[in-house]
Symmetry: C2
Subunit: 258 residues, 2 copies
């Protein structure tokens, strides 16, 4: 195989810091990741069987297995016994709102059905210093701003501003967003080849200003959950900045700690 033997370095430097030891399965994991990034295997598709991959990389099945195990734990791959291993996708019924932690309160009727989405705006702007920093751009580079509203059972509940680097999302319009059936991340995946893989959120309590109150049919000064999200694609590159305001009178943000 093209990969170095277990002790990865070829030439041992004399420096004191020992050469980072990288197990074979980690290197295999890296190679699989490359194939995912390059689009060799697309979201929803099967990847080659463990035996095939073992042959391809000239390692044992067990080593491939451990690499895939970690990728599956990171939700990049999905294993299905008897069928194969698949590239994870946002366009699946069960994984609809993978990053949305807002849930109806227990008292609320459960079958609230799908959310009603409406696009309020979609325009091109220049990144502020802060936005540029978070999106790994330079200040003033073009970004797209999407503003949208989500309602549950007719009650407007989420108001979101979404900033995207303009170049990977060239051609995105309010119209395309409005027409698309499915989540926004599914659209990004299908139409722009950008798959969101991981995100970080900062949550605060804030008071609704006049415009926010109007759009959410709430009252001025009402407490809202502010959720700032940075979403990353494969190589941990930030690809989306999102600021959501959630009404939490009939819903709550759910989190599991372990």
């Amino acid at each position: 195989m093209a990969i170095a033997a277990p002790s990865s370095s070829l030439l041992q430097p004399v420096a004191e810091t020992p050469v980072a030891f990288s197990p074979l399965y980690q290197q295999i994991k890296g190679l699989i990741l490359q194939s995912l990034q390059s689009g060799e295997w697309k979201p929803g598709q099967v990847i080659p069987s463990e035996i095939d991959l073992a042959a391809r990389y000239h390692v044992s099945q067990g080593t491939v297995r451990k690499a895939i195990d970690e990728l599956a734990a990171d939700n990049l791959l999905v294993r299905r016994q008897g069928k194969g291993t698949f590239v994870a996708t946002h366009a699946e019924h069960h994984a609809q709102y993978r990053f949305l932690r807002l849930q109806p309160d227990a008292g609320t009727l459960d079958g609230e059905g799908p959310a009603q989405r409406s696009i309020l705006d979609c325009k091109r702007l220049r990144a502020t210093a802060e936005q540029a920093r978070l999106l790994d751009l330079r200040t003033g580079e073009p970004v797209l701003l999407v503003r949208r509203l989500m309602a549950f059972s007719g009650v407007p509940t989420i108001l979101e501003d979404i900033w995207l680097p303009a170049s990977p999302f060239k051609g995105l319009t309010a119209e395309r967003l409005a027409i698309y059936q499915g989540t926004m991340y599914a659209l990004f995946e299908k139409e722009f080849g950008v798959r969101m893989v991981r995100a970080e959120e900062k949550i605060r309590a804030v008071s609704a200003d006049a415009e926010q109150a109007r759009l959410l049919q709430s009252t001025l000064g009402a407490p809202l959950l502010s959720v700032e999200r940075v979403a990353h694609t494969y190589n941990d590159a930030p690809m989306e900045l999102r600021r959501g305001l959630y009404r939490t009178d009939t819903h709550h943000y759910h989190n599991s700690l372990s």
Copy 2:
């Protein structure tokens, strides 16, 4: 070993529903869990080596390994190469606030030092229907209510009401809480043998009432993060109910999604 062979049932029922297949390593995991629950191995201690456990359960080292892998992934055990596998504990420097997701904002000076904790109250009450349901008690059974305040750099930031089933925490007083050096969960672990393992939180934005505003040195109606937590011990038994109010003007609740 005392465990049935891979296909777990001894007598195959004729019923259509197939007998749940339970892999050996899952059964080993269960046995290790029992030893943790029973206190055979206490928080902070080493458990027997993989080879010893393999002999004890009459399985291969690899099977024990997979069981321990999962327990380590759940943060019940901690592996340390060359030293052994240890029972996870809340009384460790690096794992100080394992369940507290509140972080200082980036702008805030970082070395804010340890939190200042003060116990406001500790009294015995009877569980409401709601509390009883969440704590697996019966309405009216005795519970302890602890109210405390946490401050960072002198600024009161977290106000918490904590409900505990009275019997496992018999003898808990405001004095003991105030004196103890370390987190509350470390105290529970050391003094009452109750180790919290997992928790669920429901987060909302609320407005401060008069008393809350006074205690948090905030203003009436100021937006606060309401964090309702149910913490569980080993067998997934709920053992604590907690309602925290967080000021989020200089801090935020941080969450990673993947």
